[in-house]
């Protein structure tokens, strides 16, 4: 391998442990910052019987640190197929770079113990063109196995079974790995997979069901969670990465947050991610950027808006990774002549008109809230200040 590793310090300022003193976000107050929602934020109430821990998984031991492993050979842009060997090498190099360990096994042992029940939060919403890559998921399972976790203690999970069925990870994984969903489909009809005692309550649009409950799998079974989001545009949040994948992918009744052109995702995404025990147990972020979606996300029903960042991002800080993601998506959109994810102009808004949005990258159906990343930082989930994010690039 032609390895070129270097550290790119995005700012001279030291990686401040500024999170301790970060004031609580102004719940219910208008944000004074430009580009953020002008209206008072909704009142969100967290109910959880689980106590936090001294060193929660998010932001974990490396706040503000991201390892970006890139390879021109990781995916064939004609067929969209990934190269398994290259991906495995990227995974090995990324984990070693993140942890400073010499071997992948040692790196994985920093996060996982043989007794753990390990959840792998995949993203299947971009089927068929952009989902958590089989190769990455399989490599995670392989490495947890090397650590000593039996396959039966590994859970690949999503909220909706129909999406997992479409993607069909099982043939790529060892026998015994559990593929788990909370609901059969996105119909708001199956609640048995959710924990009635652990939820965020909010009245956003006058909906009757004001609770978003955490998956039982997360609260009652898993001891560690590895988050494997994609690099995707999102009509309500601006981009969907670590934060939204772990938050909206682990709680019920979240589609209610964006409706008729308006999105409450600004504060809701980070708040969900901060709920215990999800925050403590999510110990590793592996962002699959082999493929990406620059418009129309989180879906990828056609290849029209698919692109190929050809990279995987590693870290324990979901905010830092997502802050980079915002730029990746916005830069790609600019390169394609599309409006910025930060554009709040009503002239681009065609409320609820999905077909218009799919046909034209200069159409929004909701005002996006990329500020959700910065809000999550204020909740202590990571570092959003780009000047304080340290990126280590690794070339494979």
């Amino acid at each position: 391998m032609d390895r070129r590793a270097f550290v790119r310090l995005l700012a001279a300022a030291p990686l401040a442990s500024s999170l301790k003193d970060t004031p609580a976000p102004p719940v219910g107050a208008a944000s004074p910052e430009p580009g953020l929602p002008p209206e008072p934020l909704p009142k969100l109430r967290i109910v959880s019987p689980y106590a936090g821990v001294a060193a929660p998984g998010m932001p974990g031991p490396w706040p503000g640190r991201v390892v970006a492993v890139k390879s021109d050979r990781c995916v064939d842009t004609v067929t969209s197929a990934a190269d398994d060997a290259v991906v495995r090498e990227m995974m090995a190099r990324g984990m070693c770079a993140l942890t400073g360990e010499k071997t992948p096994l040692a790196a994985w042992r920093r996060f996982i113990e043989p007794s753990d029940h390990v959840g792998i939060k995949v993203n299947c919403g971009g089927h068929p063109w952009c989902v958590s890559a089989y190769e990455i998921v399989a490599e995670i399972v392989r490495q947890t196995g090397a650590v000593g976790v039996p396959p039966t203690q590994v859970y690949v999970y999503e909220r909706f079974q129909n999406q997992l069925d479409e993607v069909n990870y099982a043939p790529r994984l060892p026998e015994g790995v559990q593929i788990v969903a909370a609901e059969t489909a996105n119909r708001h009809a199956d609640n048995r997979g959710y924990d009635p005692a652990t939820y965020v309550e909010a009245d956003l649009f006058g909906e009757e069901d004001t609770r978003s409950n955490m998956m039982r799998l997360c609260s009652q079974r898993l001891t560690k969670i590895i988050n494997v989001p994609n690099m995707k545009d999102h009509g309500a949040t601006g981009a969907t990465g670590c934060l939204k994948n772990i938050a909206y992918g682990s709680f019920s009744n979240v589609a209610r947050t964006h409706h008729h052109g308006k999105s409450h995702t600004y504060s809701f995404v980070g708040t969900l991610a901060s709920v215990e025990p999800l925050r403590s147990r999510t110990v590793l972020q592996i962002m699959d950027g082999l493929r990406g979606v620059w418009h129309g996300g989180p879906f990828a029903r056609t290849r029209r808006y698919v692109f190929y960042p050809k990279q995987i991002l590693f870290g324990t800080d979901p905010v830092a990774i997502d802050r980079l993601l915002l730029d990746i998506i916005d830069d790609k959109r600019k390169a394609e002549g599309a409006i910025s994810i930060y554009d709040r102009s009503p002239k681009y808004l065609k409320t609820d008109n999905g077909p218009a949005r799919d046909a034209d990258p200069n159409v929004n159906i909701i005002i996006r809230e990329p500020g959700h990343v910065e809000y999550a930082a204020r909740l202590g989930l990571g570092v959003a200040d780009k000047a304080k994010i340290k990126v280590e690039d690794v070339r494979v």
């Binding site: 609640n191 048995r192 009635p196 009757e208 069901d209």
Partner: protein
């Protein structure tokens, strides 16, 4: 409502086809039919309870809408807050009224349950294909444990009903949002909130958007203070009856598909009760919790209709 009236509230199948169909109706579990007067004796001879009801009688009945959900893009999201056709407001407004459902296929069982839940006298015209599902529902309703005493409605606020169509739609939205009210002749100090269209708080113009008016009332009440909340669905309408001895919760699922894990919250400290669910039978309630002056429990599975009975509060 008296107990006798309660028991008599089982809806009646309107059947205009000949008595030849009696065996198939009986096989489906239907024991009571509303038939033209001249056919009643033959039906009785065939072993069914026949209620004489001619066309003239039917036209005197108030029409009830076919219950269920439908997509109305201008009014509600298909996936988040579907548009619900429900008759609870109509029944609460005129509980002694006589009602007639004229139902398309697939609606008979829910309609029967809805009429039963509100204890009204309803006749059902159905598609013949629904005979079996209606029979199963009627059998379920007949087998439900009878309350020892008639239970009063629980209400969180009062409504002065001016009998207008506008107010009818407001009542409809109250019911659909599970806002429990009692119709009173004049604003009442018995309740901490009274709604009268034309009052300073609720001017007539507010009724132009009944959904917004319902939301205003809900927020004035405060969700924590509401006697009843439903979580895990936007398509379940509940009716709560209670006195000092016990409580009964009627759960009507308008969504057309079974729901898993409907969470119910009721003000008050109730011991664990039992659910009777159409198509499922009796089942224990899951994850019963009493905290902060309220009782919560999960109904494991809910078809078109279920009843939860809770013993006397602690």
């Amino acid at each position: 409502m008296s107990l006798l009236l309660w028991l008599a509230a089982l809806p009646c199948l309107v059947w205009t086809q000949g008595v030849d169909g009696a065996p198939s109706l009986k096989a489906a579990g239907i024991e009571r039919v509303c038939v033209p007067s001249d056919q009643a004796p033959a039906w009785r001879q065939a072993g069914l309870t026949a209620v004489p009801m001619g066309e003239a009688d039917l036209t005197l009945r108030e029409a009830a809408a076919a219950p269920g959900i439908r997509a109305r893009a201008d009014r509600a999201s298909a996936t988040r807050s579907p548009w619900i056709n429900a008759n609870g407001w109509r029944f609460l407004r005129a509980p002694a009224g006589l009602y007639l459902y004229d139902l398309p296929a697939g609606k008979a069982a829910l309609a029967a349950a809805e009429a039963y839940a509100y204890g009204v006298d309803a006749a059902l015209k159905i598609e013949p294909a629904d005979v079996e599902s209606l029979g199963r529902m009627l059998g379920f309703l007949a087998a439900l444990p009878s309350p020892a005493t008639a239970l009063p409605d629980v209400a969180d606020f009062a409504v002065v009903d001016d009998a207008s169509a506008t107010m009818g739609e407001v009542l409809n939205l109250f019911v659909r949002r599970n806002l429990l009210f009692r119709i009173v002749p004049a604003e009442s100090t018995q309740f901490r909130l009274s709604v009268r269209l034309g009052s300073p708080e609720y001017p007539q113009t507010a009724a132009a958007d009944p959904g917004a008016l319902a939301l205003k009332v809900r927020r004035a009440l405060g969700d924590e203070a509401r006697s009843l909340r439903i979580f895990g669905s936007e398509v379940v309408i509940a009716r709560l009856l209670a006195d000092g001895t016990h409580a009964r919760v009627h759960l009507l699922n308008y969504g057309g598909r079974d729901l898993e894990g409907v969470r119910v919250r009721i003000r008050g400290s109730y011991p664990a009760g039992v659910a009777s669910v159409a198509g499922q039978g009796q089942m224990a309630l899951d994850e019963h919790v009493v905290a902060d002056g309220a009782t919560e429990f999960t109904v494991p599975r809910l078809g078109a209709y279920g009843v939860v009975d809770l013993p006397a509060p602690k």
